[in-house]
Every structure is written in C-alpha cells, then in structure tokens.
Amino acid sequence: MPLPLIQLVRPWLPTPDPRTDDDLSRDLEDEFTFHLARLEEELAADGRDAAAAHDLARRRFGDVDSIRRACVRIARKEERMLQKMNLVLMIVVLLMLAAVSVQMWRAQSAQTEAIRSLGEQLVALRVGTTAAPTPQEPPGQVYVTGAVNRSGTHNLPVNGRMTLLQLLSSVGHTQIQRGIDDIKITLTSGTGEAARTRIYRLTELKAEPATVPFLEPGDVVDVSLITSNLPGPAGSASAPGGGSTSRPPFRVPDDARLVGTWEHVADQTQPEATRWSLTIKSTDDITNLSGDPEGALAAPGIAHPIRLRFKTSRMGGATTNVEILDSFETVGYLQHGRFVLSHDGSTLTLNLSPAPGAPPEAERLVFTRISTEENAALPD
C-alpha cells in the first residue's frame, strides 16, 4: 500500500522491518527449525530414540504457528502503526478538503447571489422600473379655508419648512385686481388656550419677505378678500382708477390714541427674539392715509428722539396700503418695524423689533404725536 503522506514524516518515525513477508516467514522457519533440531539432538543424547525425541521436542517447543504469528506481529508493528497514521492523516486531509470546499461553495453562492441581485438592479434601471423610494411621512399638515382654489388639508414638505406665501401659491389664491384691495390671511396656530391668531395682508408679506412666517403642523389658514366696498365713512371708497393724488394729505387725527403698551410677542421665524407691538387707534378712517407722514417716538432720558417715518402707497390702483419705509434712523436698539392695518381700518398696529443689546428703558417708550409742521421739519 502506498504511503504518500507518511513519506513526509518518515524520517521522524521508527523504521519498519524491510523484509518481505516471504523473507520474514523463511527466517522464522529457519530459526525454529534450527531450534527444534538442536532440541531433538539434546533429547536423543539423553537416550531417547529419534521418533520420541522428535515428538518431545515439538511438544516442548509449543505451537510453532502461534509463535510465528507473535513474531510477525512484532516485526510488522511499526508498519501497522504507520498504516493507521496514514489512514488518520488521510481522513484529516479529506475533512479539511471538505471544509474548504464547503467554504468555497458558500462564498461562490454568495457572490453569485450578489451578481444576480446587481444584474436585476441594472436591468430595472435600464427599463426604468426601479422601485420608487419609500415616501417619507410628511412632518405634518396644515388646513386652508376661504378664497383659495384648493381648500382643505395640505401636507407640509418632508423638510417641514413651508412659508405662508408658499402655501398660498400652492393652493392658488385670488390675485389682487380691480375691486379687490388686498387679501387677508388669518393664521391660527395651536388649539384651546394656546391658540394664537395672526393676521397678515398679502401685499405686506410680499413687500417684506423676511416677515413671512413659516407654517407649523396643525396651522389653520383662512384666506379672505378685502374689497373696495369695505364699510367706512363716505368718500373712503377709492375712485375708479384712483391714485394717491385723489386722496387728501395725511394728517394725524386729533383723537388718535397711541396705546403705549409694549408687549413681547413670540416671533415664529425667530423663536429666540421678541417683538414689541404698539397699537395706534383712531376714530378716523386711517385707510385714507396718503403722502409721507412721519411720526416720532421719544423715550424719557434718551437724548435723541426715535423717528418713525411711514407713508401710504397705493397698490393695485385702488387699495390704500401702509408700509414702513426706512423705519428707524437714529436709534440703534429698534431694528425694524411694520404696520398692520386692521380689516375695518380702525386700528393701525406697529410692530417693532428690538436690536440686540436694547436697554431696559426701551420698554418705557411712549409715543409723542408730532404736528404736521414738525413732520415737515423732519429730514427725509
């Protein structure tokens, strides 16, 4: 039997008997024959006849075959051991080969599967049938009612940021045109006691994009039209094709009240900031504002008055609108302001935002109405 593996380690193993089985049997036969012959001679020398000496010698020697087998086992002991080692090594090698084959098969299967999957994806890409990405859940919804083309529920975009103007563009609102002075937008956030309502005008939002609020999930937006036939004093309606020249110059009404209650209002676009709000109420029809009136704010203990300059302008040819221009020139701690005219025109609200580092005295600001003459003296 060939022993290829054993050959590698044979130098470190005991040397088996080099004799063939025939040579070994012959040697044992010769050795035993010699022994028996000498034993027969010894017994014959003791006076036994040849036959008796022969029989007695064989009986005394014992079972020749069993002795021969014992000697052969000893002579072939190393060879048998080597054969067993060879068998064990072969089994170990076969097991290792099997394990390696299994590993290779598994790796090849995984690679085949990966290639197949890649191929499927490529085919899907080529025919344009790739699975659509899983749509992400919208962060929330807002609700639109009133004078829009598509009222109802609308999802906020995935990034959650949508301004009020973007929403109006999306739902389609009525354009400002003849007979429609402006569009009133009522934004209600929160529910119950936490509910807060803010009113905007489309023209104001477009004039000052920085003031356009971002929507929050759950906001309710109501859109209504402000038409030219709003209730008001006679002569307040704008004439067809009217312009600013057809309106009387602005004057601060004698009974105008400056409600100097500064209040902090959370700013949706800048949650960390606060905003001051001051409301000017008048019994007069302040929708007739025109020209370039200016107001001034004075603060006790502050050397320079706060000048407030505002003017009216006409938009759409028939609508009187109020907006702030170049709001505060001389005081650094008022950052910007904005007028909000109420729907019925009876209230003019001025929103002021404080600049960083505004002193506490700013909260005690009061309005001082100035005369037309003083207005005229103010520099542009």
């Binding site: 008997d17 050795e31 022994h35 020697f61 079972d63 014992a70 000893i74 002579a75």
Partner: protein, 128 residues
C-alpha cells in the same frame, strides 16, 4: 509466556516478562552472541535447571528486544555447522541491562527484607 520454573509458583507475568528480557541480555553479556536455543539452554544452566524458558516466550522476547535496538542479529553457521540466527548485545542493550539489573537488585533486596530468612519465618509461624 513466562519462563517455566521447575517448582510450581504463582509469580506475575509482568514481573517475569521483564525478568526474561533481563536474563536474555545477561546471558548475551556473559556468553557473547548466541542463538535462541543456546540462550534458552544457558538460562536453564545458569539457574541450575530451575528456570526453563518456553520457546513461545523466548522468540517473541528476542524479536522484541531486537526491534527496540537492544539486540542485533545475523545469520551464520553454528557450532555444528548449521545456519543459525545469532543474537548479540548492542550498546543500548548493555545500558538497558545495567538499569534493569539495578532495579532488580533493589527490588529483590526489598522483597527479601519483607520475606525474611527461613529461620525468621519459622519463628513467626510459631508465634501465630
């Protein structure tokens, strides 16, 4: 099979197998190379006909000692001019014999102390 003794005994096979190897080495050391028949005869003579080595034990022992390198063998004519296999002692065999002899002496001395002299055994028997 262990060596036969002329008197019946109950000695253990392990003890006698090692003893047979030791006696074979001793015979070859004292008498030089010899064949199987000569070794068996020599053991019997040296033991004054007490130990009779059976061939069923002798030849496996000779082949085992040769395989282990304690003996070497060669075929050559015997004293009566017959072809015979002669065994002789190797260097390793001499070293093995020295070790085994020391162990045997220690063991036999210890056993002798336990067993005592015949006179002492008679006294012990009388006391019992």
């Amino acid at each position: 099979m262990p060596p036969r003794t002329a008197r019946p005994s109950s000695t253990s096979p392990e003890l006698l197998q090692g003893t047979l190897d030791m006696m074979i080495l001793r015979v070859l050391e004292t008498g030089g190379s010899n064949h199987g028949y000569g070794i068996a005869r020599r053991i019997r003579q040296m033991s004054e006909e007490v130990l009779i080595v059976e061939e069923g034990s002798l030849y496996p022992a000779l082949h085992r000692l040769e395989k282990r390198g304690f003996l070497r063998s060669d075929w050559r004519p015997s004293e009566n001019n017959r072809r015979a296999k002669f065994y002789s002692l190797t260097g390793e065999g001499r070293e093995k014999l020295r070790t085994e002899t020391d162990l045997w002496r220690d063991l036999s001395t210890a056993i002798g102390r336990v067993m005592g002299t015949p006179r002492e055994r008679g006294v012990l028997s009388a006391e019992c």
